[in-house]
Symmetry: D2
């Protein structure tokens, strides 16, 4: 089972995720794409990965914006699974932003 990361580990992860912050104990990012097509295209691409990893985000969309919050409920906080998902989302988003 994934273990909750200690604060220094979260800080280290954030160093590799410059556009992410921690908000209310969750890895957080707001994406702003060119339009709905690219915003939802990002979500649809990520959805396929997400289910395969069986680790799901909290995310919301309004037109060109996608807001993501990542935490691992079973571990009561941010785990390596959240960091891995954030890194994947960055990779895909960078292509579609």
């Amino acid at each position: 089972m994934a273990k909750k990361l200690a604060d220094p580990q979260v800080a280290e992860a954030l160093a590799a995720l410059p556009d992410w912050t921690v908000e209310q104990g969750k890895l957080h990012r707001d994406y702003r794409f060119a339009d709905f097509i690219h915003a939802f295209g990002f979500m649809a691409t990520a959805a396929i990965y997400i289910q395969a990893k069986d680790h799901h985000p909290e995310w919301s969309n309004v037109w060109n914006r996608v807001t993501v919050d990542l935490t691992t409920h079973d571990a009561g906080g941010i785990t390596g699974k959240d960091v891995d998902l954030a890194l994947f989302l960055e990779k895909v988003a960078k292509r579609l932003l």
Copy 2:
């Protein structure tokens, strides 16, 4: 341009949308699907319709849940466009729920 509906018009619309409420001036519904596959499948199906209508929801997803809020910013409230979108979402969701 779509016009903001008066309260009796909204009430009439809600009569055809029994699982929807008005929250903070928006048409609101929480969907709970069997799993992420069906929840996101619902969103992906709806996304194709949404862009064609050029009227976009505020919606969020966590695993099997999809929360939808509908309003028309230009009109400052709920319009016929929101009612039409809610009716379409119901039709698709009923198939995937």
Copy 3:
């Protein structure tokens, strides 16, 4: 590794898949949905499942039609993985057809 099914096993599988046939050694079905929204919604829903199972179809789409062919390349024919995928596709398609 999945093993190629013998002909009687394929026949048994087809008994549970009345709308499927075997064409050129692959499990085959043509779906016809109401429109592109439902056809692609079916594909998007299935795509999430497919990646999680790491077993991918050959499929094509033109407007409201989706054609599916299933085989397992490593096994040189139809395996239980193809039957499982066909059963899943039927379940989702029946909701969206």
Copy 4:
């Protein structure tokens, strides 16, 4: 209504679409992505645009490959709608390839 392009017009369009050919009277391209996630992410992104334009491709997918054929049935051949769709697909695909 979109009009069938004359051969010199098709040739001109192909000059802006270096990876496309004409096969059996249709604009044709094979894409090869890194994996299924990117291949289907491309299709899901494009699907949202496609429905909004109400002009649909013939396309097929096997794991990381997407094959596209474009023609306009009503016009009996390649039209400006096909060229526009090819240009859009190129733009999205270049990001996800």
